[in-house]
């Protein structure tokens, strides 16, 4: 088990009813973690429309998780 911090942005804050979460998980990758989190989500946001970042860098869905990481889930941007 590792301890991570999870950040949700934009409408994903509504989906998980939080913007920040300290979380313990046995997931090995960002994708595993996402699937695990879906069980707690309101709705089923498709990961194709979501980007994931670890420690302020965009990563992909097979990126490994390490203890102490901050994982962010980002819906499509709507700046401008």
């Amino acid at each position: 088990m590792i301890n991570i911090k999870i950040l949700f942005f934009g409408k994903l804050k509504d989906t998980w009813k939080t913007s920040k979460l300290n979380y313990q998980t046995s997931s090995k990758t960002t994708e595993d973690l996402y699937q695990e989190l879906l069980t707690k989500a309101i709705g089923e946001p498709h990961k194709d429309s979501i980007k994931v970042a670890i420690n302020d860098e965009f990563v992909n869905w097979s990126s490994p998780l390490n203890n102490g990481d901050t994982v962010a889930f980002l819906p499509p941007a709507s700046g401008g």
């Binding site: 942005f9 980002l74 709507s78 700046g79 401008g80």
Partner: protein
Amino acid sequence: MKLFNLSENKINDKQLKELVLDPNSGGFVCFEGWVRNNNQGKDVTKLAYEAYNKLAIKEGNVIISEAMDKFTIKKAICTHRIGLLEIGDMAVWVGVSAPHRDAAFKACRFILDEVKSRVPIYKNESWTDGESGWVEQE
């Protein structure tokens, strides 16, 4: 100074423009995006932009670098406002100077489009019906 920035205060476009002007460049193109009183058919009372600040600044500066590589331009700057905005406030400013107009127009458009699609900034609108919500890209 970073070329892409987030600002919690009103965007000082005059100051930004001074930074972009270049004596060897005959062309300057800028884009300004303002908060409209309506969007996608709803009457807007105010809006908030929230960003993943660190990643947004990093990605915004990558976009400016890409524009400098891709187009023959001299200088390019973009600032995006975050926090609570009122109707008529400037939400985003992009300015580009270049020796020739074609590169200036294309680079300005490129930066704006890429910022809108790639920089993690999220718009939350409040409407006259009292509701509010996260707004998807148009």
